[in-house]
Symmetry: C2
């Protein structure tokens, strides 16, 4: 494989946080690394995040990754049925399969919300919704949608994954206070540029939290270093706004250019876009040019052959992607590499 | 409460690792903190720990805390029955209660192994054994014991918690290759002085691991910083041997002195001791003197009134404990504070 010019396959932020924010905090924390976490760090990060999210502190829980929240809920709820949009965040699907859950997939089309409200009547289930959705980049349910469905069957538990919230500003977090079966998930892995630090949040009604999370277990899962650095980042979050601004403006530019090339691309409310290139081997061809993207055909099957999910990076990376894409399309129009040619 | 002179309540190592081992590694890792974990870090730490533990690399898994291994296994196994020694590690008991497991407790007396082999015949269960046991500090099962029981009912899963292995050097890890239902757990929280870093290991037969752990989920739970620092510590582990030597020699000294005072104390294979003081409020009285210890009466109930679990610290901390203990005993012999006096 050639040198990697642009790593656009994991929806990471392209820029680390300013390291001057972090070094002193690290030095302060590591002096006590032989000790278990001091409860104050966990509590203080809860407080900071609650303020940031605009909820009460006791609604906020922290863990080293969203999947842990999912597991904690899935182990307590035992109907073992989960309803998900199709497509949706693929690692979540892998996780629930591994736990032996039955998966009901609802296609993401204009009948999605209606279908969801019908299926959710059958029997109490967990309903997972990534909002914005991964890989389409779109908001797929509104507050009204979820309120209506939540009132039909109050025994369902709604997991609302808002990993990309900062790029979108649409949130269902206000529903959590009224509905104790709606949980919202957030992360510092995306806009906060802290994927390696493993800090995820849930915003959850305390009455449900008591059932699914055990405080003295959960709070020990975070390293004191991750907690300390996350605190430093939230205390100095203007860097995050700068990154979000950059990504949004680059997203606009990249989408515009792709449409000029003549390809189909959704508008997006996230730090990635979904592109239908019509070229089944597009991910592989891009990789040869040093550009890593997610091959949706590989993950989602035939229906998504030729589709890729592309993270928005810094200008240099996006240009590398656009350049490689145009080059491949030009070559393909001469040879035979579209879906119709190969089928 | 007065100033804390000695924090001896969580079985932590009293000394952090030398920080010159860690700083450069931190700086190297944090540059990419916006990225998800590179698989190489996880794989390299597996390799290092496998070498340290004397097992093959594919037997080693890593997570930010043992409780996560427990949860991953408990969510897959669904008989919801667990067999534990009484007493044993109290946070584990809390965790399985929270998950709705039925708990069968087997008293830790001379009939323990016999009783365990009888109860484990009934129906497939999870059998948790902390070996050495917490809080008694003793090895409670031998290789032969476990081999015999494992052969009676191969559908049981044995969770062998060796958190204190380094202070003891007794291990059941060699059984894991032959028995795919025996899992051994280790940690860097104790002898490696890395409690705040959250790095725990399981040594598990690959055939069971495939069922209970999902690689692409599990490996993302560790922060890149914790992984990087853990690698630096294992690459330079002589500091750990020094700590273990110090704790062992202090353990000997403290036990000798307690016996001279006339109290009952077990020999111990860990970095803590269990002391029967005969004074119900002993933990509270020690706290007033600035010495924190674990009050076993509070956790285990009436039978353990007056018992404390005391971590072995550095000489200064142990002296603070011994001084306070002698002072309290002297005062108690004049007033009326033993169990007999208060009952």
């Amino acid at each position: 494989m050639s040198k990697i010019l642009a790593k656009l396959d994991q929806n990471e932020s392209p820029i680390p946080p300013p390291d001057n924010l972090l070094l002193n905090r690290y030095k302060d924390i590591v002096k006590d690394i032989n000790r278990y976490q001091r409860g104050e760090l966990y509590e203080y990060l809860r407080e900071l995040y609650a303020e940031y999210a605009g909820v009460d502190k006791e609604y906020v829980w922290i863990q080293p990754g969203m999947d842990l929240f999912f597991e904690d809920i899935l182990i307590i709820e035992n109907n073992k049925r989960i309803i998900v949009p199709y497509p949706s965040y693929f690692l979540f699907i892998e996780q629930v399969k591994h736990y032996g859950y039955n998966i009901v997939r609802i296609p993401l089309n204009e009948r999605f919300v209606q279908e969801l409200s019908i299926v959710s009547r059958d029997k109490p289930s967990i309903i997972y919704i990534d909002n914005p959705n991964n890989p389409t980049g779109k908001i797929i349910v509104s507050k009204n949608d979820i309120t209506l469905i939540a009132e039909i069957n109050s025994d369902n538990i709604f997991l609302i994954d808002e990993a990309y919230y900062e790029f979108c500003n649409y949130t269902l977090k206000d529903l959590v206070k009224e509905y104790d079966n709606i949980v919202v998930f957030r992360t510092m892995s995306k806009a906060f540029s802290f994927a390696g630090g493993r800090v995820a949040f849930s915003i959850i009604n305390p009455s449900l939290a008591r059932k699914v999370f055990y405080y003295n277990i959960v709070r020990f899962r975070l390293s004191t270093i991750s907690l300390g650095l996350a605190i430093a980042l939230l205390e100095n979050k203007s860097y995050m706004n700068d990154i979000v601004d950059l990504i949004r403006s680059e997203r606009k530019r990249v989408i515009k250019r792709i449409r000029e090339i003549g390809l189909q691309v959704n508008s997006s409310c996230t730090n990635f876009i979904m592109v239908n290139t019509g070229i089944p081997k597009i991910a592989e061809l891009l990789q040869k040019e040093g550009v890593l993207v997610k091959d949706l055909g590989k993950i989602l099957g035939r229906e998504y052959l030729g589709y890729i999910r592309v993270t928005i990076g810094i200008p240099r990376e996006n240009n590398a992607f656009l350049y490689a894409l145009e080059k491949i399309i030009a070559e393909c129009s001469q040879s035979r590499c579209t879906i119709h040619d190969t089928s």
